[in-house]
Symmetry: C2
């Protein structure tokens, strides 16, 4: 007997048949005597369709009105699901973001949750209701509709779980958990049974798109176990994301890959305080996002500064740097595109030697060149040519698993 | 310089091109220096589509959740329209029913408006905004979404006009006003320039489906002129529905027709107090709606009681009455189906003689039999065979106009 939060994504609620499966997951937990809060996304491609219609009107929609528009998708899902549960004889009630309410900041399209009135849900639990809540949406202090941006419904689910002090938050999706690497690319990819919040954060920031960072961060902060499972699969145990206490004995927990990366190197930058800062300030002013940064210090009066960016930002980056070469006192700007970032992540890494060596060995054996190496406490990232990246992931996976 | 309320129905906002025309009507009034509040319906067949999807789930949807579902259509329209106005350089802002808010009773699917917080709109006018409001929806005191039922957006518009003490409420639709009879049936049907609330009420209850009764009643109560116009038509004057002071010199203002009517007569009912009551109580218990009632009193101990119903209720009505013939002490139940109700409406009628005679003469000349006659202060209704009803309307129209 506890409080269970379940979240079902867009593909899990896409059709009436799929909603039936969702009902089964909900009523199963409810029949066990649990209080159940359910968070849902918009059905299938609903939000995409709304955005296509929006583009007919304008390419630069008023942000406030954009959120009014795209929030209807989740409202449709909650009403249908609550209706279906009622039809099966369960007491169920739907709540939009503003009805709960979920209070957010003013940042339309990418709002952050400030507070959730969990008493509303607890009162409905008290009355015997299954509570079906719209993900992705909230209201600001002004009573205006906001949306949470990418991964929004996951964030809603874990935030609600935190506010309810729920026993766990089940995230239902179309794969049965988190894998050591992309199972569609590497045949013997393994399902991870248990992973820590920190490892999950590294993996998701590295392009493993199962869980959005924001929801993992909230899970970590409030110590809510997040379970990733496949919708419709009976007795799935999925992957549990939780505190790292049990996880010390794993070498690495996963391998991630991110394509379409470019590396830019500013050569012969004057080795003086403030030069590095100037480069990044300039790029920030042009809204170019920098990923990994590596700076080599020599004993000379010059240094080389390398960093990675999305290939879509490459042209703009080169233009900005070339135009300011003199101001930056740089000798030359060189770049490589069509690169991929391949990373291994694992809490175990901090206490073990030889993990990096093992990774590099795997790449060496495959004759794959590394364009850049960057490490953190629980992560090692290398840049490789994009056309060699799948082979790189496979080689590393075979070495470790 | 005043306050103008404009309402655009589902077909007027069905596509992006149509929304452009709607923008023109709005900005034209705004450019004159008026404050403008706009009420919109769901686009085209949006609500029908949602109901089709709902039927996939259940044929007896939970009423609360039904309203959560069907209210999204208007939310889509307000965001798109506000977006489009912003895109054209106007300050516009959308409001849902709960944002305004429009407080209603608890009657999901057919809620009545209890109050409107017009200060919200007036504050936005003060800040220079065009205010775009979702029709058809509100919230109850509990914060649950309600919808107003048929004709709901018209009702929202006139109620908002009343709460703002607006100069007028323009109802934009796909015909240019209200006609003396259905222009698709009678070639020389004439547009009515001016009509009183009471006449409009009679016409709309008689099947002229331009304005819903509820909105006309509110217009009458708060003395808000309602103007019915065609969307996209330049310089249309439409039809003005307002107080009757100017209208004394019109003979009749319109002719309405309602098909699929049946007449039932309970013959030989004992002429005692309570017998008529028993008939209608019985039918009310079976949720059968009675329209016109005519009772003939003779000097005998028996009376005949006739009334009209929708033909769709005929079988049930006959079954109920036959089963209770003894209880009602009725001799025989007879009926005619395939009838139409044809009515003439006009405030002028009260002060003039011969209107009824003129109507009956028109029918006599066409050799059309009347199955029932019923009159009120501003209305004369006759029942005719449905296959003669178009001819009846045409004949009466030619007689009067």
């Amino acid at each position: 007997m506890g409080i269970i939060v379940q979240k079902f994504g867009g593909s899990s609620v896409a059709t009436t048949e799929k909603l039936e499966k969702v009902c089964n997951h909900i009523t199963k937990e409810f029949e066990k005597g649990n209080d159940v809060a359910v968070i849902v996304s918009a059905q299938g491609k609903t939000t995409d369709r709304l955005i296509t219609e929006e583009k007919e009107i304008t390419n630069s929609p008023c942000k406030r009105e954009h959120d009014v528009l795209v929030s209807v998708g989740e409202q449709i899902t909650i009403s249908k699901l609550a209706m279906m549960l009622n039809d099966k004889g369960y007491k169920a009630i739907s709540l939009t973001g503003w009805q709960l309410p979920i209070i957010t900041d003013d940042n339309f399209g990418n709002a952050k949750i400030k507070s959730i009135k969990s008493e509303t849900i607890l009162d409905l639990f008290e009355k015997g209701y299954i509570v079906v809540i719209a993900g992705f949406q909230g209201i600001n202090e002004n009573g205006e509709i906001t949306t949470l941006g990418r991964g929004g419904s996951d964030t809603t689910a874990v935030a609600i779980a935190a506010s309810l002090k729920a026993d766990k938050c089940d995230i239902y999706t179309d794969v049965d958990g988190i894998f050591t690497t992309d199972p569609s690319k590497v045949e013997n990819a393994k399902k991870i049974d248990l992973i820590s919040y920190d490892e999950m954060l590294e993996l998701s920031s590295l392009g493993a798109k199962v869980l959005h960072n924001r929801c993992v961060e909230i899970g970590k902060k409030f110590d809510i176990p997040i379970v990733v499972k496949e919708t419709g699969k009976e007795n799935s145990t999925g992957t549990i994301v939780e505190n790292s206490k049990y996880l010390e004995n794993m070498e690495i927990s996963g391998i991630a890959k991110d394509d379409n990366i470019s590396r830019v190197t500013v050569m012969g930058l004057e080795n003086k305080i403030g030069k590095t800062y100037k480069v990044f300030k300039l790029l920030a002013e042009h809204k170019i996002n920098i990923d990994t940064i590596v700076q080599s210090f020599g004993e000379s009066i010059n240094k080389n500064l390398s960093f990675t960016i999305k290939t879509s930002d490459l042209a703009e980056t080169l233009k900005v740097l070339e135009e300011n070469k003199e101001y930056l006192t740089a000798r030359e700007i060189i770049h490589f595109d069509n690169l991929s970032k391949v990373s291994i992540v694992g809490i175990g890494m901090t206490n073990r030697t030889g993990i990096a060596a093992k990774m590099f060995e795997a790449l060496y054996e495959e004759n794959i060149n590394m364009h850049l190496i960057s490490t953190s406490e629980i992560k090692i990232t290398v840049l490789v040519n994009q056309d060699e990246s799948d082979r790189a992931v496979k080689a590393i996976h075979n070495k470790f698993f």
